[in-house]
């Protein structure tokens, strides 16, 4: 089945899969957003317990999606893995650190004799929520703004002291932290942070049966929507007006050797030249806004579904803009021709084909997740359940 596809088609298929995983990850960041709100929404111990337990039954999905996203990116575009992770070292290390402390926080938070105390574990959740979302957002924004790195596979042969043998090198001392100084990167980081909080508020309103939490969530929804819109619109505005990194196809030349050059309004062009992507983007944005407005002015309690779907569609389309239509998805500002494209950074045809068969498992995975959750999640969390349940966080 997949054997008959061309290498380019497989590369595109895998870019779509990576984009889907990324968009699911941003949706599932509602867990991170929620973690930053536990003190804002939870004024009593029981309220905080409900909030933490509501998130605690979902956090592993976000975590697992992040791990799978990493694994899938490694398997399909290994040059990204080696260039970005090895180069933007500090950004990724801080993201990882934020997830390390999250992984124990739920289970250990209320366990007796937990060494660090309940508050510390709650702060682990807050740090994870803020750092995780902002840094991932800023890192993804570099897909459009670029980073200063070089890629030279010939370095591997430097055995007589000609220089480093490392193929991918970051050409700056900050190793990724410099991304935080770019207004566009920062705006996407903060937009993701506030979006995660919005999604968390919608999620809590749907998942927790408590009047106070509901009322506070509704109030917070407006407070978080304003900065979200400011940062999101700033990011989109900058994106659509900036010069982009265009790949120049050359007939008869190996795509590994295709050149990259700057093109004015490249990302705006991408949206206009891929109308389906534009439609997905617009539908996504409308769904997110509909979820927020519907919840603010109506009595809707299920905004998380529209908000979640909207988030997935929007992020998905943004990733397609980054990688499709002859665009360098991980551009180098240091050396344009070191930029990564889906053509020059992917795995071999054999590996992409083998992995494509594995990707057929994804619908089964989604089906059992849905079935399993439906069977234990059909009732909202309330104070009574927290008192009766034997396993709580």
């Amino acid at each position: 089945m997949f054997e008959s596809l061309s290498l380019l088609a497989l590369q595109q298929y895998w870019w779509v899969i990576v984009s889907i995983l990324a968009s699911l990850l941003v949706f599932l960041f509602f867990v991170q957003g929620g973690q930053t709100l536990i003190y804002t929404l939870g004024k009593t111990e029981m309220e905080r317990k409900m909030l933490v337990n509501s998130l605690g039954r979902k956090w592993e999905f976000t975590f697992t999606t992040l791990v799978t996203f990493g694994g899938a990116f490694f398997a399909s575009f290994p040059l990204f893995y080696s260039t970005s992770f090895g180069g933007a070292y500090w950004v990724w290390m801080l993201i990882l650190f934020a997830f390390v402390i999250q992984a124990v926080a739920y289970e250990y938070r209320t366990k007796p004799n937990n060494f660090l105390g309940q508050r510390t574990f709650e702060w682990f959740l807050i740090i994870n929520g803020a750092l995780g979302t902002i840094l991932v957002g800023a890192a993804v924004s570099t897909f459009f703004t670029g980073s200063a790195f070089s890629v030279n596979k010939l370095n591997l042969t430097n055995i007589f002291g000609e220089g480093s043998t490392t193929i991918s090198a970051w050409e700056g001392p900050a190793h990724g932290l410099e991304a935080a100084l770019n207004i566009q990167n920062l705006s996407l980081g903060l937009a993701i942070f506030f979006l995660a909080r919005i999604l968390a508020l919608l999620y809590f309103m749907n998942d927790i049966d408590d009047e106070n939490i509901f009322a506070r969530s509704k109030k917070q929804l407006l407070i978080n929507t304003v900065p979200f819109l400011v940062f999101f619109l700033l990011f989109v505005g900058l994106l659509l007006t900036k010069d982009g990194f265009a790949v120049i196809p050359e007939q008869g030349v190996d795509p590994l050797l295709w050149k990259v050059k700057m093109e004015p309004f490249k990302y705006l062009h991408n949206l206009l030249q891929m109308p389906l992507v534009l439609i997905i983007f617009l539908i996504g944005v409308v769904f997110v806004l509909w979820a927020i407005i519907g919840t603010l002015i109506g009595k809707c309690k299920h905004g998380i579904w529209a908000g979640g779907l909207g988030t997935v569609l929007t992020v998905f389309s943004v990733f397609l803009v980054a990688g499709f239509n002859n665009t360098a998805y991980y551009p180098s500002t240091y050396d344009l021709n070191s930029s990564l494209t889906i053509m020059n950074s992917s795995s071999s045809k054999f590996t992409l084909t083998a992995m494509s068969y594995v990707s057929l498992l994804v619908p089964f995975v989604l089906a059992y997740i849905f079935h399993a959750w439906k069977s234990i999640n059909n009732k909202k969390i309330d104070a009574r359940e927290m008192e009766e349940e034997t396993h709580t966080y």
Partner: protein
């Protein structure tokens, strides 16, 4: 070596070792305890006896505490291949990335979904659905182990790929060769069964404490019974797979095999050192030379090493010196190259790649085609390219191609000796369990408790042997650590090393304190 930053390489290795060893504290218990829990829950579902349900829940609570920190330490490892070993990620990412992705899709989601049912589903789903979920957690954890161990085995015995000079990396040509390589199968079976043994010892140790305290006595006895049966079967399997692993190492990693026996001089009818101590080495004759350590004391089993490696007591086992200087097998007449010859061939392979790349860039099609033909020639690949990694060394630095002999020797022997102890422990525990005399055997119960730290030591020793014994190779013969490392400053790695060392140690203390508190509460103490 002047273009290699050895401080960076050492700290990067240190960071990976730190995170891998911490991760491996928690994983084995996850692998085995889930099966023990699933067996107990199966008995509960079959008999309807509530005490088995309580027992299941007690061990599941300990499992959950352990699982969380296992997850925390695991995420780092996946990303460290990119952050600290970026050349590696490109050079073999085409093969190595696939198992990691499959692990995520096939195993992690299974674990995280059904763990939720295991913990929160008691009052919400049917007994059978709950039981199925518990079994799926166990299976998911073990599938996860399968894929990461396939990836690890491939590093030690790279198969199923060819080198593509255009992309300057190895590319997969046979998925099944990677998955079903004998090294992968042995490594998977040996590693997971070691996890089962560790879990069985853990359960026996905790239950022994209950018996000594005369607390939850029935529960403790039944736990010991289940664990000793599970442990005994696993330990027998562990010995069998260990034997298979050793034979595989003798075949594909002869230096590791020589190192784990501290065999300096090769010989036929080689004896196995049952117990031995290495003496302090003499100072090296010249700077950078390897340090030879002879035995101060040893007890040997005649012919056993030859038999263990090749099922033939007369088989020739090359020693460290033979592998460095080259040798001819007296039985087969097969000639094996010296490290100097391999270094020369490795350099030739690297320079051929360089010339090819330069010819392509210069547009010299004829020269490029001639050079590319070498990479397509199976003979050249098998006799020259296979030593690619040696090319990063020289005559002056070839001592760097040796692993630490004492570390390999002691970790191997510690692991084997302790495994014998666990096998005996399971047998004795089972006998007294069946005779219902456990409570009177106080010494045995103390042995049970003290076996917990011992089994963790044995488990770590196994990994130290597997990973230190193969140094300096990240990919056997193809890429040494010094060519795999990312280009970052050593200071950054030092900072993250200490960041993770402090974080993991703090979390480990928290985990142990929580675990001990939960154990003290006992089966009737709730959650």
């Amino acid at each position: 070596m002047e273009n290699f930053d050895m401080t960076l390489i050492d700290w990067s290795r240190g960071q990976f070792a730190l995170t891998a060893m911490y991760h491996w504290i928690f994983v084995p218990l996850t692998l085995g305890l889930t099966f023990i829990i699933a067996i107990m829950e199966t008995i509960y579902v079959r008999t309807g006896d509530e005490k088995w349900k309580k027992m299941t829940k007690f061990w599941a609570t300990l499992f959950g505490i352990n699982f969380a920190i296992g997850v925390a330490t695991g995420i780092i490892l996946e990303f460290e291949f990119g952050t600290n070993w970026s050349n590696y990620s490109w050079f073999v990412g085409d093969i190595f990335g696939a198992p990691l992705a499959i692990e995520g899709i096939m195993a992690f989601f299974m674990e995280s979904t059904f763990i939720a049912i295991m913990f929160f589903g008691w009052n919400k789903v049917s007994k059978k659905f709950h039981l199925t979920s518990t079994w799926l957690v166990a299976i998911g954890a073990n599938i996860s182990a399968l894929w990461i161990l396939v990836a690890n085995a491939w590093m030690q015995d790279p198969v199923g790929m060819v080198f593509n000079p255009d992309t300057a990396r190895n590319e997969m040509v046979s998925f099944w060769s990677v998955l079903f390589s004998p090294t992968a199968i042995n490594k998977f079976l040996h590693t997971v069964t070691s996890g089962y043994v560790l879990s069985a010892v853990f359960v026996i140790g905790v239950a022994s404490w209950f018996l000594l305290k005369k607390k939850d006595v029935v529960f403790a006895k039944q736990s010991i019974l289940v664990a000793s049966v599970f442990g005994l079967i696993s330990a027998l399997f562990l010995v069998w797979t260990g034997d298979g692993s050793a034979r595989q190492i003798a075949k594909v990693q002869p230096m590791k095999f020589a190192a784990m026996e501290a065999l300096w001089e090769g010989r036929t009818n080689a004896p196995l050192v049952a117990i031995g101590f290495l003496e302090k080495p003499a100072p090296p004759k010249t700077e950078g030379q390897y340090q030879e350590k002879e035995f101060a004391f040893k007890i040997e089993i005649p012919n056993m090493l030859s038999f263990l490696a090749f099922l033939d007591p007369n088989a020739y086992i090359p020693g460290v010196k033979d592998l460095v200087n080259g040798y001819t097998d007296p039985n087969t007449g097969q000639k094996v190259l010296s490290y100097s010859e391999k270094i020369a061939l490795g350099k030739e392979a690297i320079l051929t790649l360089k010339q090819y790349k330069e010819a392509v860039t210069a547009g010299n099609a004829e020269e490029a085609a001639a050079l590319k033909a070498k990479f397509e020639d199976a003979n050249w690949r098998d006799n020259t390219f296979r030593y690619f990694g040696y090319g990063y060394y020289s005559e002056d630095t070839k001592h760097g191609l040796l692993p630490s002999i004492p570390l390999s020797f002691y970790s191997f022997h510690l692991m084997v000796i302790l495994s014998g102890h666990f096998l005996a422990l399971f047998v004795v525990m089972l006998i007294f369990s069946l005779k219902n005399r456990l409570e009177k055997m106080k010494w045995l119960l103390y042995v049970g408790i003290w076996s917990i730290p011992l089994v963790y030591i044995a488990s770590q020793a196994g990994w130290i042997l597997a990973e230190m014994g193969r140094q300096p190779w990240v990919i056997q013969d193809l890429m040494p650590t010094l060519a795999a490392v990312s280009k970052i400053d050593a200071g950054s790695v030092q900072i993250t090393f200490w960041l993770f060392a402090i974080t993991f140690t703090t979390l480990l203390i928290a985990e142990i304190k929580i675990m001990l508190t939960q154990i003290k509460k006992g089966i009737t103490g709730g959650h």
